[in-house]
Amino acid sequence: MSTPLITPDLVAVDVVAADRDAATRQLIDLLAAAGRVTDAEGFHADVRAREAQMATGMPGGIGLPHARSAHVTAPSLAVGKVPGGVDFGAPDGPATLVFLIAAPDSGDAAHLQILAALARRLVHESFRQSLKDATDAATVAEIITREVVPS
């Protein structure tokens, strides 16, 4: 894997957002700044389309906006910690941890294995808790890089 799934500059530890759209946009801007998303507006539209199909909020305060998009250059993850919470349509309340998954449209199967591994890790409470406990961007990125290994 030439490009790591996440780097510290793709983590925002203190996101303040009025709604899921705004929170998602802040994370998209991080990906765009890192050159992983070529067209922030276009990618945002793809994420909105996915979110409209089915809300991605999960129990335990997780929001999981994601999309496969032609505007993405490498499989990437941006993480936002939202202390005030933002609603992602989960049954048990707003999300305090938002994962934005960006997948390239043309990515082959091997390329996408890393995202499958990430999704599998997200189910584990211990993994989510360690990310909630992490206070700075470097720690968050380090935990994810260490824990998410394609099978």
Binding site: M54, R68, L112, L115, R120, V123
Partner: protein, 506 residues
């Protein structure tokens, strides 16, 4: 228990895999092996066919069309959608376990598997498996009961309109050759006879189908031939549906045993087509004709003699006894002894209108109506005690009971013999006693309420039927409440879960 699952979601990068992981973890937590095929963007590796073969049930946590769904055909399943699996995997596992225990078979889309689904869970306890084998036979028999019984009832209805009050008696006397040679489209009586004869033929399949599909449940396809043959022999020797239950189990285990013989490769090819059906049918034939047939015949003769010696004594007691016999095996040999006793009495010449023979006929007819009517009443009054199939059958049983077709209660008796038979025995016996006491007399051999105009004191007759019906229904409800049927409970558990799950599946 082992489960397989398929997960998929619109994007194929997140929920597909979260659902897979959540199901595997939730399964592990309760000691259930769950193998998940992730049909997502990162390609999907098909499950090993052996894993699918070993699995007891299937979970569809898929928002997209499941690829190659026919691989899972015939297995119990739950279809929950991907989101439910991510949010509440333990609940989904529990629902799948309930579905496996209930043995809900998957409807086979496009029917790639030609065999009808059996509902038998090979890992269940002996009692549960016996019940599931019985239910397999009963569920295939029910349509024959409904079609045949309703055709016969319609025949009686038409006969009453076309032939007047004697039409119902005459319709049963019209020979089949008349329909073949001289059928008159304008004759109501001919139509009535046509309905009656067609229904009677459909009824002829009742015991063979019961026996055949019990054997099918036990031994799969090899059980069909000896099962059907055994059922037909049971009818031929007059052993009725109780005989059919025996032949079903006998044929099933015989076929299963023979199919497990270790045979040379050359013979293996002809085993299912020739050897198993041939040997097992022959053995079933020997047992039924030579071993069981004679005792049943002697039993019938003995009972007939005994009844004749009784007829001089207390008539109410005789009525109660005949009623009990009618209610005991619902069209089987004992029922037939009582019925034959009544019908042969009708042939006596020069009887007075209220002769004992006519009163016996009324008694037997009333008692024979009790069991199906009581099952119809019980299954509509206390739905929770009956399987879905029984509730459906209960609706047909109203008409069958009113037409004096005792066989309408057989599906209930075959599924739960002693509770239904004990209840039916008591209720029919009371009805028999009451009819004798009120002195109803009847000169038609068949027809139920359709021959009411021929019955003296019809009000007393109906009252007797109603009393027996209520007693039998109440008894069967009490007995079934005391020990709930696990199949019914499992069905209800699944119903409730599906009611919860379906609206949330996206």
């Amino acid at each position: 228990m082992k489960l397989v699952a398929v997960s998929s979601c619109p994007t194929g990068i997140a929920h597909t895999y979260m659902a897979a992981e959540a199901l595997e973890q939730a399964g592990k937590a309760v000691g259930i092996e769950v193998h998940v095929e992730t049909q997502g963007a990162a390609g999907s590796t098909p499950l090993d066919p052996q894993i699918i073969a070993d699995a007891d049930g299937v979970i569809y946590a898929a928002d997209l069309e499941v690829k190659d769904k026919d691989r899972f055909a015939g297995k119990p399943f739950v279809d929950v959608g991907v989101k439910k699996a991510v949010h509440d995997a333990p609940g989904v596992i529990a629902a799948a376990v309930a579905a496996v225990e209930a043995g809900v078979p998957a409807p086979v889309a496009g029917a790639p598997v030609a065999a009808p689904a059996t509902k038998v869970d090979r890992n269940a306890g002996v009692g549960t498996r016996i019940r599931q084998w019985l239910m397999t036979g009963v569920s295939y028999m029910i349509p024959f009961v409904a079609a045949g019984g309703i055709l016969i009832a319609l025949g009686f209805m038409v006969a009453q309109f076309a032939g007047g009050s004697d039409g119902v008696v005459e319709v049963t006397a019209i020979p089949v050759s008349h329909l073949l040679n001289d059928f008159n489209v304008l004759s109501g009586m001919d139509w009535a006879a046509l309905l009656f004869q067609t229904g009677a033929v459909a009824f002829g399949f009742l015991v063979p189908v019961l026996s055949g599909f019990i054997a099918y449940g036990i031994a799969d396809r090899p059980g069909l031939v000896p099962g059907f043959v055994g059922g037909a022999v049971s009818v031929a020797v007059g052993a009725g549906f109780l005989g059919g239950l025996v032949t079903g189990f006998l044929a099933g285990f015989l076929a299963l045993w023979i199919s497990r013989w270790k045979v040379p490769k050359g013979v293996r090819g002809v085993m299912p087509v020739v050897v198993i059906p041939l040997l097992s049918s022959f053995v079933v034939g020997i047992v039924m004709f030579v071993v069981i047939g004679q005792p049943i015949a002697s039993l019938m003769n003995g009972l007939s003699d005994w009844l004749n010696s009784l007829s001089g004594s207390n008539l109410v007691l005789l009525g109660a006894l005949l009623g009990a016999m009618m209610g005991f095996d619902l069209g089987g040999p004992i029922n037939k002894v009582a019925y034959t006793f009544a019908v042969t009495g009708l042939a006596t010449e020069g009887l007075a209108a209220d002769a004992v023979q006519y009163r016996i006929m009324a008694t037997v007819m009333a008692a024979g109506m009790v069991a199906p009517l009581a099952m119809a009443l019980a299954s509509s009054a206390r739905k929770r005690l009956f399987t879905h199939a029984e509730q459906e059958n209960g609706k047909a049983a109203w008409l069958l009971g009113l037409s004096f077709i005792s066989e309408g209660a057989i599906p209930f008796a075959a599924a739960d013999p002693w509770r239904v038979i004990v209840s039916s025995l008591v209720g029919s016996s009371v009805t028999g006693g009451i009819v004798m006491a009120v002195g109803s007399a009847q000169r038609a051999p068949h027809g139920g309420v359709w021959v009411l105009p021929l019955i003296s004191n019809p009000f007393g007759f109906l009252m007797a039927v109603a009393v027996g019906m209520v007693i039998t229904a109440a008894l069967v409800i009490v007995l079934k409440s005391a020990k709930p049927n696990p199949i019914v409970q499992a069905e209800q558990a699944v119903d409730e879960q599906q009611a919860q799950l379906v609206p949330q599946a996206v």
